[in-house]
């Protein structure tokens, strides 16, 4: 792994592992000789400070654990302080160390950050009156036509495509474009505080059959979750839900999740995850506790729904390219790689 310094003075000579970097020639104003040592990225759980590097000098100076805070005024620089006691050891302006670490992925745990925590509580201040006033103003003057088209709310469950044991309750707010295509904004609840966690597209089997097989691998079938009562339309009597379900049983969906709240992410981290649907296979059955909780909340019963949908026609055939993991034991993850930016020449 190489290590890039941001300025023209390279200071990083080697990367030991994901969280440690060897640095040399870390110069300081007050000290005559440069610092050498190993910097460890420490986890910071405090929103008052940005993540810091903790380093010690293996060179001539007898300076133990130095905490380096990042500061971004003007050129990026580090200031060094003695960690022991409150005495400020020395300050300095150094080149910034940027580790060429692996980039984010949808299935990898992000680097140390206060943005992951128990309960995935949202960081930040409550919305101010000023912002609310601006929003009211905007609402009166602007047309929100696209979002007003969503007129269906469905609650169901989804599984992470790279780890089927991770299961979430989802709230789809759905707009029908035509008889064969629907687009959904997916949230983690149906309250005003709901977090937007992804987008799902739903197509009929007719449309699905026209897709190339490489594309079909990314989609999942809906028959099982609808027939077994996992999918429900909150607030609607079961009888009224019937016609909708009849048309949706034969559909396929493609669901990208952009915020892994179940992992504790307080902010949307990483690349989008491809999600899969519950299926009649052990590893893809939804945890009954999750279902019970949902049923209690909405005063529905999955068991009853399942019974009333028993007569519902099942699709005669589900395309084997969908629910790819079933036949192939493989899920999908998304990575991002640095590339040469394509531009028209004079623009970078």
């Amino acid at each position: 792994m190489t290590c890039n310094a941001h300025s023209s003075k390279p200071v990083c000579s080697d990367v030991l592992d994901e969280s440690s970097v060897v640095f040399n020639n870390l110069k300081s104003k007050s000290k005559k000789h440069p610092m050498h040592g190993i910097a460890h990225v420490s986890e910071s759980t405090d929103y008052e400070r940005t993540p810091s590097l903790t380093a010690w000098n293996t060179g001539k100076d007898d300076i133990s654990l130095i905490s380096i805070q990042k500061s971004f005024k003007e050129a990026p620089r580090y200031s060094c302080y003695h960690k022991k006691g409150q005495k400020k050891g020395y300050k300095g302006i150094h080149s910034v160390l940027y580790l060429n670490r692996s980039m984010a992925s949808s299935d990898k745990k992000p680097g140390p950050t206060p943005a992951i925590g128990p309960g995935s509580t949202l960081p930040g201040k409550p919305t101010t009156l000023g912002s609310k006033l601006i929003e009211s103003g905007a609402m009166m003057l602007q047309s929100m036509a696209p979002v007003r088209q969503m007129n269906l709310h469905a609650c169901t469950f989804a599984l992470y495509g790279h780890d089927l044991s991770r299961q979430i309750e989802t709230h789809h707010f759905i707009q029908r474009i035509n008889q064969d295509f629907l687009q959904c904004a997916v949230f983690d609840s149906d309250k005003p505080s709901a977090r937007l966690i992804g987008v799902e597209y739903i197509v009929s089997d007719n449309i699905f059959e026209t897709l190339p097989s490489e594309e079909q691998k990314l989609w999942h079938s809906h028959a099982y979750e609808i027939k077994t009562g996992l999918w429900t339309l909150p607030g609607m009597p079961e009888l009224l839900q019937d016609p909708e379900h009849k048309s949706l049983t034969k559909t396929y969906g493609k669901f990208w999740c952009t915020w892994q709240v179940d992992r504790g992410d307080r902010l949307p981290l990483g690349l989008p995850s491809l999600m899969m649907s519950p299926q009649a296979v052990d590893i893809a059955r939804v945890n009954p506790e999750l279902v019970k909780r949902r049923d209690r909340k909405y005063g529905v019963s999955r068991g009853d729904a399942k019974e009333s949908r028993v007569e519902m026609a099942e699709p005669e055939w589900i395309n084997p390219n969908a629910d790819y993991w079933k036949q192939h034991g493989k899920g999908f993850a998304i990575d991002v790689v640095p590339v040469e930016m394509k531009s028209s020449g004079a623009l970078i």
């Binding site: 904004a185 607030g235 949307p268 991002v336 531009s343």
Partner: protein, 261 residues
Amino acid sequence: MKLAQSHSYYIKSVIEIESERERESNLMATSHVDVPGEPTETGTALLETATGTIQGFQPINNIHQHLCAFHFYAHDMTRQVEAHHFCGHLNEDVRQCLIYDSPNKDARLIGIEYIVVESLFLTLPDDEKPLWHSHEFEVKGGYLFMPGVPGMVERQDLKQVCKTYGKVIHFWQVDRGDPLPLGIPQIMMALTRPGQLDENIAKDVEKRFGVSFEEQREQRKDLTGPDHGIHPLANAAGRGLKTELREVDIPPATSMPRVFV
């Protein structure tokens, strides 16, 4: 019924609202490739009108703002998309937006944007920061605007937006004519320098929304960007970024499903 009351918007007259929208001038940008499929059947439409009045839509009702801006693909600056953001505040420091390809009712949902203030951006791990972009240039340059909102009101909000960072992911590559959302998600970036935005796209948007980017630039001179300057890792750290699909082994069937806490 409370639900009914809060959705009197729907109950009052769906027909009334529909015709109002029809009367609005068509603000469509590129020629609309129709989404394949049969027209919605009457039965389905009626049912969905019913669900629209009976069910709760609180997360959607939290969306109060329409912003228009331009995105380009993080690996290809020459592919630029007019992006209509419909945004809501989760709190003062975090916003979430649905991105459509037009402000009309037949708009396609093409992506998502999250917007956070600088102090939250700085807490993101270093492998996450390159996926986010700064808003300073497009706000100060006049390219990001709120259609229909007078400049003075607009600037109150843009004062805040100027200091934020955003993460945009698109799922539907409408600019290359895809009739359906094919392929994998794309990380998008925002304008960071003069000369990046295609002139034809710019002129077209200015005409359709009756705005002038240059005028806005003049008016927004006093806005300032992030307090600590634009972070060097933001905007993909100055490089291109491309998403890739990878196959992974599914954990064996014996793994215990975790209880959702």
